[in-house]
Subunit: 208 residues, 2 copies
DNA sequence: CCTAAATTTAGGCTCGACCTAAAAATGTGT
DNA sequence: ACACATTTTTAGGTCGAGCCTAAATTTAGG
């Protein structure tokens, strides 16, 4: 069934392409590197690159599915008695301790690569948006809201906005060259402040 | 100075291109129409189209500057004693009465054209984001916040999220075929609800 | 009417995205 | 171990958006 060799080689090829791409992007910038160059560096055909990564942006921002599903998962898995807001704040603070890439931690080179490229910033916004959509669906399902009811979408938009603001803050500090330790310390306070803004509005919203 | 004839012809050319493009887009969908076809329909060279509208999306979503500056302008122009939240809500409700395109009113064909095209939806998100950025700058300047302070950005993100949620709601209803009158009635209530979510958090924020 | 400035045009170029058929590599049954 | 089926990779081509340049056309203003 789960044929070992074929699957292994696919992983290796994918990894080779991804590594070559990341190295080139950080060296010379996302827009300046062509897919042909990446294929040459990874020693595969151009079509193979496109095959594994349909869009060029996927080469720089991989694991988009995990990213997009994050907020929804946190809310879906929250324990009884916890509100959506509390769950997201708890999970965000845990991510800060872990220096988790999913909330914005990366290297200075990576952060620069993204903010230097309009294409990548747009793609990142896109991912934030998918994340918000997924969250909205979980909230709508969880609160058994009526079809035309905007509450779940509005709440998802606000929670997503808070999350995105903190994400961008982490990326800003990373770009400035701060260490992950420093950033974690700063952002812990920021998180309390930003989520605190929604405290009064959403404390009791979607409590399981 | 403001040479009449030359300027007039430019306006006419621009209008001819824009009209031809809009007609073709709504007929056959944004992605299915090529720039070459638009140029042929408007009886100009392909390069002239690109000249007036650098990106293909600009042909469908014109006046992006006005759009992007909207929220910031509303806040900057608010009367003494009014908070940012109150100003944005007031202006939004006025827009609802006007069936203003800037808050999402359009025709069914236009709404479909956008939601059928990933490129246009992405571009619209981009515009919402620029709008939020501009708002953040005004809020930061107006509240004289410290350089590292996230408050203005967070508030702009929340207010922008509220606005965007309502915008998308209007587009959804338009796509469903509801009349602007019906939509206005529904959305007036929605606006009170959505802005109301931020009431407790931001009532006193950025009051002039 | 003539010259300077602005605009439009034609043509070519690169790159990302997509398609197809053939070749190569891997898995499977005998 | 071999032959056959399946999956993956490859080569080659097409298309459209975006960009550039030099030449042609149009308008402004003396």
């Amino acid at each position: 069934m789960t044929t070992g060799l074929r699957e292994l080689k696919k992983q290796q090829t994918r990894q080779a392409i991804s590594s070559a791409a990341t190295r080139l992007f950080i060296e010379r910038g996302f827009e300046a590197v062509t897919i042909t160059e990446i294929a040459a560096a990874a020693q595969v055909a151009k079509m193979t690159v496109t095959n594994y990564f349909p869009r060029k942006e996927d080469l720089a921002l991989d694991h988009h599915e995990t990213f997009a599903a994050g907020l929804a998962r946190t809310v879906a898995d929250r324990p009884a008695g916890e509100s959506a807001l509390a769950a997201l704040r708890r999970e965000f603070l845990a991510g800060v301790e872990r220096h988790d890439a999913v909330i914005g931690f990366s290297s200075q080179g990576f952060a620069r690569m993204i903010s230097d490229s309009p294409t990548l910033t747009a793609r990142l916004r896109d991912l934030h948006d998918q994340r918000e959509d997924a969250l909205a669906h979980v909230l709508a399902a969880d609160t058994a809201s009526a079809p035309g009811d905007l509450t779940a979408r509005a709440a998802a938009a606000l929670l997503g906005a808070a999350h995105r603001t903190l994400f961008e803050h982490i990326m800003d500090l990373t770009r400035e060259g701060q260490s992950n330790r420093q950033i974690a310390s700063t952002v812990t306070r920021s998180a309390h402040q930003v989520f605190g803004l929604l405290e009064t509005s959403l404390t009791d919203y979607a409590t399981r």
